[in-house]
């Protein structure tokens, strides 16, 4: 990229990136999502192996919402004001976050008490968030607006792939490694977490080394330096106050869908154990088998996710994002209503297809909409705010669902999954409230003659 500037104008020329370059740039996202995949599928079973009760799970999962709520917007704001000739703007945060992920994943299998697992989860989640927020902003930094959708979809693709491989690794290592530690953790957990540790740092290093950052012009650098003492929280608050109305409506959709997704992730292994493995004893070998089968199921819906992600975008361009997202959520509703009532473990892969399609939409479509609604110069802060829309419902779920599960749902995992389906249905309906302008993408009609024809040059 080259730059030309005057005292008041910044002019940049950004070469468009090839698909290969975009994939390489986002490869680190795979490692980060592998780490998230381990967090989603393996952490709760570890809590169970260590003796935590199902009612304690929401509170033990507080780390995710709280670190996401505070760390992502702050890291985004900090990285906006960072520039180092040697390390760049976003890369220092990728490297710090990925190193933290690698260390935490490496240490996780050695925990011997619930409190140790909870502490490590906080550190792991903080590391994941530190790496992830600047990665979203990296897309806006490097790609011209016409390519940002492709960039976000590449991240969606790697989300599906990372979580899939994390879940599949849990299943495969169980068949390779047997036995357990004195604390009650099976040895196959070690294999999965060690692989996650390597993936986390390795893929981020590939991205860091293969993708140079765009240096700021002297004027931009001066502006960055002058903003270093500005109040980051005030900037976030101003962006919230000025948020476009349609983006505010998205918060309601997110309230339902992310509360529901948290319920699904926390209770799916208990549901599978009850329906397909006929056990509610979390210390039984049947439960251990149910956990690994759940890993395969979660891997299965993520396979669907990365298979359909790009085609969903084409649908969104043709029919509008809100209808596509609403329809995808309804597919998940149908699937999850059947899911907890299926006793055949192989048939569980059919209803989960609906959730896979919805997950692809959840990870891609809202970002495409947000990019259309806000100026690209504020992508960073709005990415942080969108993440707040994700973590606040998760926090709410963490604080409330323990009581809901016990008193309203009868401590029955079947009811928990049904409850998640109903909430996703609410999200699908709320999505229809968003007023999305029709999309004009066809450029062929610009060939009509100009009103004042002066001839060609």
């Amino acid at each position: 990229m080259s730059q030309t500037t005057t005292a008041t104008t910044v002019i940049r020329r950004k070469p468009m990136m090839s698909m290969k370059q975009i994939l390489l740039m986002n490869l680190g996202f795979f490692g980060i999502q592998y780490s998230f995949g381990m967090q989603q599928t393996a952490i709760n079973p570890i809590y169970n192996f260590l003796g935590a009760s199902p009612e304690q799970l929401p509170l033990l999962n507080m780390a995710g919402p709280i670190t996401g709520l505070f760390i992502q917007p702050l890291i985004g704001s900090l990285s906006d004001r960072t520039w180092s000739e040697r390390w760049g703007r976003r890369k220092p945060f990728f490297l710090i976050g990925a190193t933290g992920c690698a260390v935490c994943l490496f240490c996780f299998p050695f925990v011997s008490a619930v409190w140790m697992a909870a502490l490590l989860l906080w550190l792991l989640d903080a590391s994941n968030n530190t790496a992830m927020e600047p990665y979203r902003a990296f897309i806006a930094d490097k790609l011209p607006p016409s390519q940002t959708a492709k960039g976000f979809l590449a991240q969606s693709f790697f989300t599906g792939l990372g979580i899939t491989l994390a879940n599949i690794s849990l299943f495969l290592f169980q068949h390779v490694l047997s036995g357990m530690t004195a604390a009650g953790l099976p040895y196959w957990v070690f294999g999965s977490f060690m692989l996650g540790s390597v993936c986390s740092i390795g893929t981020v290093l590939v991205s860091v080394l293969s993708t140079p950052e765009i240096p700021p012009s002297p004027e931009e650098l001066a502006r960055l330096r002058s903003k270093q003492n500005d109040n980051a929280l005030k900037g976030i608050w101003t962006a919230i106050v000025e948020m476009p109305t349609q983006l505010r409506k998205l918060a309601l959709v997110y309230l339902f869908q992310w509360y529901a997704m948290n319920v699904y992730w926390q209770y799916v292994s208990l549901s599978v154990a009850k329906s397909a493995f006929d056990t509610t004893d979390t210390h039984s070998s049947a439960y251990e088998s149910a956990v690994t089968w759940t890993g395969l199921i979660n891997g299965g819906y993520n396979v669907v996710t990365f298979c359909v992600a790009f085609s969903l975008v084409a649908f969104a361009k043709k029919h509008g994002a809100k209808y596509v997202h609403s329809a995808c959520l309804m597919l998940a509703v149908i699937g999850l209503l059947f899911f907890p009532h299926i006793g055949n473990r192989f048939l569980l892969f059919l209803p989960i297809i609906g959730l896979g399609v919805a997950w692809a939409s959840i990870m891609g479509v809202p970002y495409i909409m947000a990019v259309r609604m806000v100026p690209s110069s504020r992508y960073g802060v709005y990415m942080g705010i969108i993440n707040m829309m994700i973590v606040i419902p998760q926090l709410l779920q963490t604080l409330t669902f323990g009581a809901v599960y016990k008193h309203l749902l009868g401590s029955n995992p079947t009811n928990a999954i049904t409850f998640a389906a109903i909430l996703l249905g609410c999200a699908a309906v709320a999505m229809l409230w968003i007023k999305e302008p029709p999309i004009v993408r066809d450029v062929d009609d610009v060939s009509a003659p100009a009103k004042v024809q002066m001839g060609e040059e």
């Binding site: 080259s2 030309t4 005057t6 008041t8 104008t9 910044v10 002019i11 940049r12 020329r13 950004k14 070469p15 468009m16 011209p144 607006p145 016409s146 101003t238 000025e242 476009p244 259309r372 609604m373 806000v374 100026p375 690209s376 110069s377 504020r378 302008p437 029709p438 999309i439 004009v440 993408r441 450029v443 009609d445 610009v446 060939s447 009509a448 003659p449 100009a450 009103k451 004042v452 002066m454 001839g455 060609e456 040059e457």
Partner: protein
């Protein structure tokens, strides 16, 4: 042959509210007063701006010292979010290095800054690297003319906030 793979991004801060800038881009009488680089002017009667989805944007620029040299922009609005974003897809003829048969996208973003300022961000392309270089020089003076136009206004309060 030089590859058409470069996107131009232009950023400048203006000490006026977003709606004033938005109107400067969407009202023909205002637009014709500034939307040309030094040495060119817009033909007021050529300006057609219909800032709604699918609406037409057309205008012709003429060289001040040589009326035979013209520059025609013809396109449609593809995104209109008052007062945040304007996007048009257009064909440009009359500029060396720019293929008139190949549409380019012009994205104009208006971001509120503190103390009544607005960040104007223009994204345009794709161009060849050399055309982008030429065009960026043009934007420099176009935005100077916009500043001059704004200086003549008694800017009203932004009612959109």
């Amino acid at each position: 042959m030089e590859e058409v793979d470069t996107i131009l991004e232009v950023e400048r801060e203006f000490a006026c509210p977003r709606d004033v800038l938005f109107r400067a881009f969407t009202e023909p009488a205002a637009f014709s007063q500034w939307f040309a680089p030094t040495g060119w002017h817009v033909l007021p009667e050529s300006v057609e701006l219909n800032p709604q989805l699918g609406g037409r944007i057309r205008h012709t620029k003429v060289r001040d010292d040589d009326p035979e040299k013209i520059w025609v922009v013809d396109g449609v609005y593809t995104e209109v979010f008052y007062p945040d974003v304007l996007v048009t897809r257009q064909r440009i003829s009359g500029i060396a290095g720019i293929d008139p048969s190949r549409p380019v996208e012009l994205r104009v973003e208006f971001t509120r800054l503190g103390q009544g300022k607005t960040l104007l961000r223009i994204v345009q392309g794709p161009y060849t690297e050399s055309a982008a270089l030429d065009y960026s020089d043009g934007w420099e003076s176009i935005l100077d003319h916009l500043q001059t136009y704004l200086d003549t206004l008694n800017t009203p309060k932004d009612t959109t906030r």
